[in-house]
């Protein structure tokens, strides 16, 4: 395996593992919990490192992940006292645990090979050189194996508990009433987030992993109305960001993790602007169209109501105080919908379809009015 392939593969597996659990974090409006977990596992990572003297070993993965669950439990316990709101509880718990981790690293930094830079920002460039050798055979980079296993575990987790995850995310009360233990599912999910974060920190770092957890899922959310498609798209966006980030970093000699996290943000911004239905541009166009359409219906209703079956286009500006270009758009829309005809002298004439629409328009307006008591 070439070093380049090892790095890209590690990054893609990280993105995939993160996107799978991140989708549910986004839908549960728990993005901040993801942030908290990714920081609070730091002391777990350090303590486990003291014992195992290696990163990415299994005991390390489990030990550090326990801190993720402790974080969630602490946040919930704290917010349940109702002395602090949930967002404050998150803000109290994770910096404290994170600081503990930083403290532990700085105190023992001289004796062990574990520095803050590596933990905070990741060290993906070194991933190819940390290989697994069994019986003299080089099995390739350790991180690929670990993240591959975590990705597989996450995939299995959501496939097996798909229905339970869905119902406990959408309607936890119903899930509880049906005996589908939403609290258990919640902690399983948080456990998966913790394991993923710990496994991913070496490639993207404890801080940037949150970008991979949340942003691809939030991007996918802009594109689809179906859960499985959202999950798939989240993976696609994550991988896309990882790959584009890598080449960007190599071209300009940037930090790889930094470039990847930046790429995630760039992809999100593009999606936010240009997504077909939920994007900003699409929404603006849709709203503009709607206002032209509504103005046209108003105009038709007005003509029918005032018994003015004909109206010169020139008079629009005077009657409605519409700008000229807007009036033109409205007339064009009305002509296209065949609600009016235009005679030679630029006079609007109501068609039969137009009259019919005007009657419906009036009925709806008065119905809406009577509801509005």
């Amino acid at each position: 395996m070439t070093p380049e392939l090892a790095i890209i593969l590690t990054a893609c597996l990280t993105a995939t593992a993160c996107a799978i659990v991140g989708t549910f974090l986004v839908l549960r409006k728990m993005a901040l919990i993801g942030d908290a977990i990714s920081h609070a596992v730091l002391p777990g990572i350090v303590i486990a490192f003291f014992f195992t003297h290696s990163l990415n070993s299994l005991p390390m993965l489990i030990g550090a992940s326990l801190f993720g669950l402790v974080t969630v439990a602490l946040i919930e316990a704290l917010s349940r006292t109702r002395r602090v709101a949930e967002d404050s509880a998150i803000g109290v718990v994770f910096p404290a645990l994170f600081a503990l981790g930083v403290l532990l690293i700085s105190q023992r930094a001289g004796q062990i090979h574990l520095d803050t830079d590596c933990v905070l920002y990741g060290d993906i460039a070194w991933v190819p050189f940390n290989t697994i050798v069994v019986g003299g055979v080089n099995l390739g980079p350790r991180s690929v194996w670990v993240l591959g296993a975590v990705t597989l575990a996450n995939l299995l987790f959501v496939l097996v508990f798909w229905k339970e995850l869905k119902i406990s995310t959408f309607d936890p009360e119903l899930a509880a009433a049906l005996g589908l233990a939403p609290v258990l599912i919640q902690y399983l999910l948080m456990g998966a987030v913790s394991v993923t974060t710990v496994a991913a920190f070496e490639s993207v770092g404890a801080i940037l992993v949150v970008a991979m957890l949340i942003v691809p899922a939030a991007t996918a959310y802009l594109f689809t109305d179906r859960l499985w498609l959202m999950l798939t798209l989240a993976i696609v966006f994550g991988v896309l960001a990882a790959v584009s980030g890598y080449f960007f970093a190599r071209a300009f000699d940037f930090s790889i993790a930094g470039a990847m996290a930046l790429a995630v943000g760039v992809w999100f911004t593009l999606a936010w602007l240009f997504a077909p239905r939920h994007g900003v541009v699409a929404q603006l166009v849709w709203r503009a169209r709607l206002s032209v359409r509504f103005a046209g219906e108003l105009l038709v209703a007005h003509m029918a109501d005032r018994n003015e079956p004909s109206l010169p286009v020139r008079a629009l500006a005077g009657h409605f105080r519409w700008r000229e270009w807007f009036g033109r758009l409205v007339v064009r829309d009305l002509l296209r919908r065949q609600l009016v005809r235009l005679d030679k002298a630029e006079v609007l004439l109501l068609t039969e379809t137009g009259r019919q629409l005007a009657r419906e328009f009036g009925r709806e307006a008065s119905a809406a009015n009577s509801h509005d008591r």
Partner: protein, 275 residues
């Protein structure tokens, strides 16, 4: 019919023979508190099977909490509740629940059919997936509430009334014996209100029991048979024609009697909804 002795002991397992007399819901010395602040205090009532029951009371009277506590969704400080003579936990398969529409995020990426299918998740059991049989059931339930054409519609694109009907379809698909509904009529259009009222009558005809939190006093006699009047404590529980009185309404709503309530009172003085 032989007279049965009135005892305070809860029904035993040998009481199967007296099934008809087992209340659908029995609540005994029921207290629910958040920390030390009681939300429901020492409530007792028993509701018969096959009735449409409204739970009414002012804001903060504990109506929704009552439903959630019966279902075991919030912890109970004291007392017990039984569903057909057993703890609610053991009766999940015969209970249908319709939460308040606002309790979920309608921007969730899914369609109407899928939401209805969720009602069947309990029966399908852990890990297994709903199959064609469940899908057909869900479709039938959607058709029942006039929403078959919207099965594939993303749920955020439905109107409030349509969303409420999807929730009802979900409960219908559960084919429960007993339904709990939290404000099913809240904020729905006239069409949906008629549809829900019709559905309630139909459920009653099939011998089902419906217990619904209700906020519109004027329609209580029209839609419901029984009423539970709550204001922290139980004011009254019984058939509408017996307990839905001006005195009880005053006791329930106190000084908070608003125009709406006065309208209901005038309705009562004229002798019911036909006046």
């Amino acid at each position: 019919m032989t007279p049965t002795p009135q005892t305070a002991t809860p029904p035993t397992s040998t009481a199967a023979a007296q099934r008809p007399s087992t209340p659908a819901v029995e609540v005994h010395d029921f207290t629910v508190a958040y920390h030390t602040k009681p939300v429901l205090w020492d409530v007792d009532f028993a509701l018969p099977e096959g009735k449409l029951v409204a739970i009414i009371g002012p804001n903060g009277a504990g109506k929704s909490t009552m439903l959630k506590a019966i279902l075991g969704l919030v912890p109970v400080s004291a007392g017990w509740v039984e569903i057909f003579g057993k703890p609610a936990r053991e009766q999940r398969s015969i209970i249908g629940y319709v939460p308040q529409r606002e309790s979920v995020d309608w921007d969730f990426p899914t369609n109407a059919l899928d939401v209805v299918l969720m009602g069947l998740y309990g029966r399908v059991g852990w890990i297994r997936r709903p199959g064609r049989h469940e899908r057909e059931k869900a479709m039938a339930a959607l058709a029942h509430v006039g929403m078959a054409d919207y099965a594939r519609r993303q749920i955020s694109q439905l109107s409030g009334g349509q969303q409420q009907r999807v929730f009802l379809a979900r409960a219908l698909a559960q084919e429960a014996r007993l339904y709990f509904m939290d404000e099913p009529f809240a904020g729905v259009d006239a069409t949906t209100e008629r549809a829900i009222a019709g559905l309630l009558r139909e459920l009653r005809e099939r011998g089902r029991t419906v217990i619904a939190v209700h906020h519109d006093l004027q329609t209580v006699p029209q839609y419901f048979d029984w009423v539970v009047m709550l204001n922290l404590r139980l004011v009254a529980a019984g058939p509408v024609e017996k307990v839905f009185t001006a005195d009880n309404l005053h006791a329930t709503y106190g000084g908070r009697l608003q125009v709406l309530t006065q309208a209901a009172e005038s309705l009562l003085k004229k002798g019911g909804p036909t006046g």
